[in-house]
Symmetry: C4
Subunit: 238 residues, 4 copies
């Protein structure tokens, strides 16, 4: 795959990139707002489709936060554009060090339009024990369709994080995976949907954590979980 020169792209794609930069910048503000990140940790990305027929492919681009930049400085202009090998195509700063993992997910999961990574405290606490979050809340039935699964211990720097995400989430209802000893990654058809999943996984991680501190949560029958999930997905059309 040859490198793309961003200025050779058709005007429609360039407009899509601008819009994605604005959305991704704005969505980053949701991470500190809901207490999912500290300092410059955490990142949101969005896929930009480049094929004329509008179908996702391995030639797509992604917009992501640059590395080590304060949440106060996350303007649309500060965002960076990479190809799906994680190579920087546009931007004055280095892409987030998690870019390779995001890119891997977009390459292998064409239905994914947005990816989010945080170290939100309660979700990461489950990840540190390598323990899935059991489905003890109707809200979990709605959003996750069951438990939130755990992915492997994977080291940054090669494809092992991306591979761990894809292997865990492929064919799973949950849009969130707890990467072992690391933290949650979430996916969605758009960056906004992935941010929502990041907010919700921390919320359910906290609530079930609290519930278990004084006993066991009551189980929700599996067919009830199925009904919750189907209704919610139809109504909100994830």
């Amino acid at each position: 795959m040859p490198e793309t020169d961003i200025h050779d792209l058709p005007p429609a794609i360039q407009r899509s990139l601008l819009e994605a930069r604005e959305r991704v910048a704005r969505l980053h503000a949701e991470l500190p707002r809901w207490n999912l990140v500290v300092w410059t940790a955490g990142n949101v990305s969005e896929r930009v489709v480049v094929r004329g027929d509008g179908r996702p492919s391995a030639e797509d681009l992604l917009v992501i936060k640059p590395s080590g930049v304060s949440y106060d400085q996350l303007s649309a202009e500060a965002m960076v554009v990479c190809d799906l090998r994680g190579r920087l195509l546009d931007g004055t700063r280095s892409p987030s060090s998690d870019t390779a993992a995001h890119a891997y997910v977009y390459r292998r999961m064409p239905e994914v339009g947005g990816v989010v990574h945080t170290h939100s405290s309660y979700a990461t606490a489950w990840a540190a024990r390598g323990e899935p979050i059991p489905c003890a809340l109707t809200m979990m039935g709605d959003e996750f369709g069951g438990e939130v699964p755990v992915g492997p211990l994977a080291i940054i720097g090669d494809d092992s994080i991306g591979r761990g995400i894809v292997e865990t989430l492929s064919g799973h209802r949950s849009p969130a995976v707890l990467m072992r000893n690391h933290g949650p990654f979430t996916i969605g058809p758009s960056a906004e949907a992935a941010v929502k999943a990041a907010v919700m996984v921390e919320e359910v991680a906290k609530t079930v954590h609290l519930a278990r501190q004084h006993g066991e949560p009551l189980p929700i029958p599996e067919e009830v979980v199925d009904r919750l999930y189907e209704r919610y997905q139809n109504v909100y059309g994830r």
Copy 2:
């Protein structure tokens, strides 16, 4: 019951609807302010009486938040108006998916003027275990007159949530019910009173949760709870 056309209502009712829209919009801001909700979860509604004698009836209307709208965008104009069957009468967006439960409560409990639903973490943790919050704080005597009760596991989409709320709270001092595996619903003579109850139920859920982490709270004698409740209800006239 035939459908109401909102524009045929007398001017006084239309003014009441406008005022209720403003109050309900403003009160929604209290939910994220006191950390009771994340993302677009949670909702506040208020009854608008339509009968000329000012008495509540099954013909009343309710004002509620639309579904899936960010807390930043909750203006008075964005609120929606429904009848007490949960049918949308005025508004450009779908009503909250919890509208049927709110409407059921207004139909069956004429003394209720406001209903609130959240998934606030500590209250929902008690709900996940199906465990009432014992009355271990003078503040609980004041506000709840005893323990906060648990309602059944009920599924959204029919009247079972509304029925569970009404059956649990009818004849109970507490304005809050913890719906099993789901979260708290609160009621009050006004939307503001129901919001206050939503704030207080999370506060006492948290404090009693914390107290029990290092032993058992000291019990408050029943006659003390009664005196607290009676004094507080007389002073503040719930």
Copy 3:
């Protein structure tokens, strides 16, 4: 003791009252800022000395928050003035329902210039168990000179809360008492010092609570506590 007419007071006292209203209004903003209160709970008061020689007496006045007013509306004008029997002398709203307890403290403890009451979660959790907070932090040595003591279960409406505070704190180093099943009251030479104590008691209540969740805090030798307390009180001159 006859009732005082506020407008008959000398101009110097009237100026003191104005200044106290401003300080007390401003200090109330610290309570939600440090997460010590929800809704309209919590209150700060300050003594205003009326005797020409500047010495505190039972004829002094107090400035306190009115009852049931939102933290957004706490202007200097909204504050109310009472005598030390808790009777309203100036203000358009009812004084806080805790005014009698504040007034009792000022009557019996002439060294006290400010009183604060909150239901802050961690401090109230210790209060619910009736358990003093052990001195496990150098910060506690500094600020409290040892453990934070517990007062009796007392019911609002007569002098029993005030008496419980005075009996527990008289001759004690701690400026904070955990009233059983109720919450913390703090005192200080000024309203600001009492607010600081309210902030600090929640902080140490939380930190020692957390420490004990995974074992016992290491004890601090008593002579070290004494040295911390003496140094700090000399430096900051409480």
Copy 4:
């Protein structure tokens, strides 16, 4: 070492002092932002090198927060300048009572350009038990290169706090030490790096605390910790 008169310093040093005042004032705002401090607790300092060759020495100066000043009033002008014996050289208020500890660290650790002290709740809870935070998160491998160590119980007023910090951190990868029964001190090549370490130590203290509440975190193999640390330090060049 004779006392320095600040106005006799070369213009370049005076400019450095001005810039350091601005940075240190701005960085103090990060402490309440990330919930690391309450009231006026906590402090950030930065070394200003005075030698013409730009190499740190015991003749350097430090810029630090004055004692007992509210976080709302921390302007660059309010900051104070001390020598590395902790003596005030410039400023209208007393330096923080922790200045001696900061100064000791700068005297003994020439590689340190910034020091931060907080009483952040979770880190201080580990400190109260005298228990190091085990390395259970990839983020800890990145930032701390292993566990976060504990320093001795040391009393303010002489060099024992500074000595405890230096002895614990010398030759250790971690930029954070949990001073027993007291709280965390962090160091870095700049004040900003030390603030980041203060934010991160509270984050990992909280997450590992939560993880252990429902079992033991899974261990991360030592060679994985080493790879995480080396990669991260090379990329971000601490």
